[in-house]
Amino acid sequence: MPMTDDRRFYVARSLPDALAALVDGGQAAVPLAGATWIMRAPIRQERQDLSYVAISRIDELRNVEILDHEIRIGACVTHAELATSLAFLPECRAIGQAAGGSANPAVRQVATIGGNLCASKFAAADLVPALMCLQAELDLETPRGPERISLEQFLQVRTSMEPGWLLRRVVVTRAACRSVHVRLPLRKAGDYPVAIVSMAAVLSTSGLVTSARVVVGSVEPAARRWKRLEADLTGCTLDAASAAEKAEKYSEDFRGRDGIEAPGWYRVKVLTSLVRRAVQAIQQES
C-alpha cells in the first residue's frame, strides 16, 4: 500500500458521521467495508491516493433483520454472516447459496454485501444476480435524504451518484418462491465464476410457473435479467430440458465479455447448461 497519513483513513462511528466524511472528501473519498476489493487496487494498477471512510464499525449496518414480510440486510453484513442467517429460509435460497459459495471461506468472513453491490468493476459478483432474482431493493442514504431504489436501477446509477451517499441496507420481500444460484468457475471452486444464472420461480399448486425471474451474471460487465426466457418459462411446467432449449435459443440476448480467463462466446455458450442445472435444482426443492 502507498504511504499515507492518518487523514486518509477515517473510522466512522455512525451513519451521519460516515456521510459527513464522504461529503467532505468528495470524489476522492470512498467507503471502506470489508476492504477486500480496495486492498487489491495496486494489483489492478488503480489510483492509490483515495481517502477511505471505514463503515464496518457502524452497528446498524451489520444487522440482518428477519421480519415476517421482509429481510433487511445491513450493507456491512459479510457473506459468511449472510449465509448463516439465511440458512433456514428456503424462500431466499439463492442468496444464501451465493453468499456461501463465493470466493473462499476467509474472504467470505470479511467481504460484505455492500462491497459486492458497489464494486462497479466487479463483473463476476455473486450476490448481485442472486439478489436481483429475488427483487431486492436498496435503501440508500443520499445528500437529499433516504431513497429506496431497485437493484436494477442501482446498477445503472452507482457510478454517477453525487458524493455523500451510502448504501445502508438491502431489502428482500419474503415470498413463497423457490430460488437457486448456479455459478460456474473454471476450477471446482475458488475462482470467480465465468457465468452465473440465478433463478427464482413461483409455482402454482399444479406446478405451473406463475412467475419467473432469471438473472445472468458475469457474462456481461453487469448482471441483468433474461426477460425473454422469463416470459417463456411463465405459464409452463418446469422442465429442465425444455428450459435449456429455450435458453439456447435466446443465448443471442447476451454479448459475453472477453476476459483473460474465458472468452465472451464461452460465457454465453454455457448459459444453456446453467439454466438446465438451475431448473433441475428448483425442481428438487420443496
Binding site: M1, D6, N104, A106, V107, V110, G190
Partner: protein, 164 residues
C-alpha cells in the same frame, strides 16, 4: 494514531499507517513471521489469521480495521512445548513439505474443525478453497484432518505429548 490489537493474548500497540495490511504489521512490526506474504490478493491463504475468532486473509485487512480486535496467528496454536492436536496429526501423517502454506492451513483447519466436528472429505476440501499448497497435492493434509476429526468424535483425547 496508534492502534490497539490483542495479538495471541498480548495487548499491542501498532504505529503503522492504518492502511498497512495486517500481515505486514504482524511480520514487520511484531516479528510474528508465521503468517506469510505470498499473493497479496486473498487467493492463496498463506496469510490466514484469526481476527476476532474468524479466519481472514490478513493481506487484505487494513490494520486500521483491526483496531480493538483480537488476532490469533499460527504461533498461538501450540502451547509451550506441545503441538496442537491438529499439528500433531499433520506431523504423524508426514504431511509437511516446504511448509510455507502450513501456517495458513493450520489456522483455516483449526477454525473449521471447531465448527464442523464431523466433516467428510469434500467438506474439508471446500474449507481449503482459500489455501493453496503447491507441494503436497493436499490429500495427506485432508487425511490428517479427517483422522483427527474421527478421533475426536470417537471420544479419544490427545494429550500434550501426542499420545491418545
Amino acid at each position: 494514531m496508534s492502534l490497539h490489537l490483542n495479538i495471541n493474548g498480548d495487548d499491542r500497540l501498532s504505529v503503522k499507517d492504518p492502511l498497512t495490511p495486517l500481515v505486514d504489521v504482524l511480520r514487520d512490526e511484531f516479528f510474528l513471521t508465521g503468517a506469510k506474504v505470498v499473493c497479496r490478493e486473498g487467493f492463496c491463504g498463506a496469510c490466514t489469521v484469526l481476527l476476532d475468532g474468524r479466519p481472514v486473509m490478513s493481506c487484505l485487512i487494513p490494520v486500521g480495521l483491526a483496531d480493538g480486535c483480537t488476532v490469533r496467528t499460527v504461533e498461538s496454536l501450540a502451547s509451550v512445548g506441545a503441538l496442537s492436536p491438529l499439528q500433531q496429526a499433520m506431523e504423524q501423517h508426514d504431511a509437511v513439505q516446504c511448509g510455507m502454506c502450513f501456517p495458513g492451513m493450520m489456522i483455516s483447519l483449526t477454525h473449521f474443525l471447531e465448527h464442523t466436528p464431523n466433516p467428510n472429505r469434500d467438506q474439508l476440501k471446500s474449507a481449503l478453497t482459500g489455501n493453496i499448497c503447491r507441494c503436497t497435492g493436499y490429500e495427506r493434509i485432508i487425511d490428517a484432518a479427517l483422522s483427527l476429526a474421527a478421533e475426536r468424535s470417537s471420544g479419544v483425547q490427545r494429550d500434550d505429548h501426542g499420545k491418545s
